[in-house]
Symmetry: C2
Subunit: 368 residues, 2 copies
């Protein structure tokens, strides 16, 4: 697209990276996106600023030393960071899988950081948790059986619990430490674990799905961290195939899917993979201030079977039952649900281009 | 609303400030919001972190000194900042009104900074400029006469120019330096000044309106900086009254209106003022990564006269004419237009509360 700077709406497309995709073909991709496919997260982490752990810095305004403030800088993508003022570090630990930290921020409440990347803050977690749960669950009638991949903070479970029709919730989280820390520091998220319909499985999601029953779930929600380290496999074709097999006909997947401002081609990659696996593929997005570029995206996919109209919720949240926790929805509502599928023109064109290109597998169609 | 932290969805409501509103009544407001009403911006700037000028900081990842990077930290609201990596400072100057700076960032293109606050970046300006222009202009049939208050970078003019029905565009910008710097550093925005329908007035908008003709404009767009310093008057009642008088019956105002995540009560204040002045008042929002919390809001108001349905564009952008610059819309489209009026539940409730409270003037109604 015409652009004076060449920098506006695309990531740093310096095509200096190569990767072999699932079909054995080599593909040239920007090096900044190798991080999503690297087989050596440690090496990538050392040489790529986007996965440099967040750093602490001090700022003193004026000559008054009492005005010195400590900030945690959350690295985002090349060339930017979001700094949150730190009041207190509450927890620092290292699990088998990642470094875990919790700090009290000046204006966003408590903050959960995994491997130096902010995962959630008390102030804006409502946007992410409510949207990732209700976008899929309000799109199908009476969901009964739900799987959550990741989500060890419990927030998605809290949201699923609003749905009286749900009878069984499996959650597969790889890192026990995340669960423990959430129960200790984020009780308003970890309350999700208290629902008697929840069955917790601590372990690898790929293994869990491999051993699981086919066609079991009405909905699967993939609430993962960025696709480096423990979540690396969760953006690859084999995983999406397992997801599709674990869903019933007309079942739905909702997957965390990056920022439309920063990595449209990562999104295109995920859409391409999903088109080969699912009947319908949609992209939605919402505002989450503490995520890179202030937004997060979601891929909504449905399997062959009864058609799912994702953008017009057939199971509106107002009808799903009395909230057991009596916690009001802070963010999600039916208008926000439909609005989430409206895409800015730059993304709409890129999604349309995928629609026009032949799919190499199933004849999936992406709606925008 | 129920909230464990008490910090989640509201600004730092330490009610330690008092202000006299337009009716002579004293009102208690959080001190952080005094900045919007202060009569002494300098004093406020010194003691409040939200209007501390952005600061430069260095970050060195690892032991390799070649990896040292310079960041500009854009202060947002209490306790956070957004850091952009600086490649080059292109301009630094001081006008009669404010400090003006332009730098080349690593990943957002060139950045315009006024009084230490980021105003626009090349990467994401499209979202703001396109929405603030087309939300009002696509809501009314064949707008002919348009006024822009502020907007000295030219971006809003560029967008208005797409509308073939428009015959006359007045722009009133207080600071000639902003115009000059934009023409030099942001040609893809300043191109807006080249349209022959544009009539530039350098000066104070309140004076301009005071001396102007009543009922002249179909639409007025207020593209201001934050309401401290030169833009301070632009959030006060007398200004909105002048705007209403300058609009024809059924004319529309679109005003930049803060972040829904950070200052819902500032938004409530603006809505309350507008309810007393306009027939209908609506709030919309969109994603702009480099603005505080990654969003910006817009107040859309219409005067007594033919009803305006803001959320369903009667003058869709696809029909407004051949873009003279042949620059594709990067962000705005009719779906994004309608979607912008979907409000998160926390804001919807606060707007509804305003609807339920009696207006002290006109019986305006806010739609959400």
């Amino acid at each position: 697209m015409e652009d004076v700077t060449g920098k506006s709406l695309e990531c740093q497309k310096i095509m200096d990276g190569k990767v072999t995709n699932g079909n054995g073909r080599e593909k040239v991709i920007p090096s900044c996106c190798l991080k999503a496919k690297t087989s050596d997260p440690e090496l990538e982490a050392q040489c790529h600023s986007t996965v440099v752990s967040g750093w602490f810095s001090e700022f003193q305004s004026g000559s008054d030393k009492a005005c010195k403030k400590l900030y945690f800088n959350n690295p985002m993508w090349p060339g930017e960071a979001h700094a949150l003022e730190v009041e207190n570090i509450l927890f620092k630990g290292k699990s088998e899988y990642q470094e875990v930290m919790v700090f009290e921020s000046a204006s966003y409440g408590k903050v959960l950081v995994l491997d130096g990347i902010v995962q959630l803050t008390e102030k804006d977690e409502c946007a992410y948790q409510e949207m990732i749960a209700h976008l899929p669950l309000c799109s199908i009638p009476s969901p009964k059986s739900v799987l959550v991949v990741g989500g060890g903070d419990g927030g998605v479970l809290r949201e699923i619990s609003r749905h009286d029709s749900v009878e069984h919730i499996d959650i597969c989280e790889i890192d026990q430490m995340v669960i423990d820390v959430s129960k200790k520091c984020f009780p308003q998220l970890a309350v999700g674990f208290e629902d008697p319909r929840v069955h917790l499985h601590v372990g690898d999601a790929v293994e869990f799905l491999r051993n699981g029953k086919q066609g079991k779930y009405d909905a699967i929600i993939v609430d993962s961290s960025d696709p480096v380290g423990p979540a690396q496999e969760l953006v690859e074709m084999p995983f999406f195939r397992m997801i599709a097999q674990a869903l019933r006909p007309g079942g739905v997947l909702c997957n965390m899917a990056e920022s439309m401002w920063l990595h449209t081609h990562l999104i295109q990659d995920m859409i391409s993979i999903c088109r080969q696996t699912f009947k319908d593929v949609h992209y939605a997005w919402t505002s989450v201030p503490t995520y890179p570029s202030g937004v997060i995206g979601f891929l909504l996919c449905s399997t062959e079977g009864p058609k799912v109209d994702f953008s017009n919720p057939v199971n509106p949240i107002e009808n799903v039952g009395h909230p057991k926790s009596k916690r009001e929805l802070k963010f999600y509502n039916s208008e926000m649900h439909s609005a989430a599928f409206a895409l800015p023109s730059f993304l709409k064109r890129e999604v349309q281009a995928l629609n026009d290109a032949p799919a190499s597998g199933k004849n999936g169609c992406i709606s925008s």
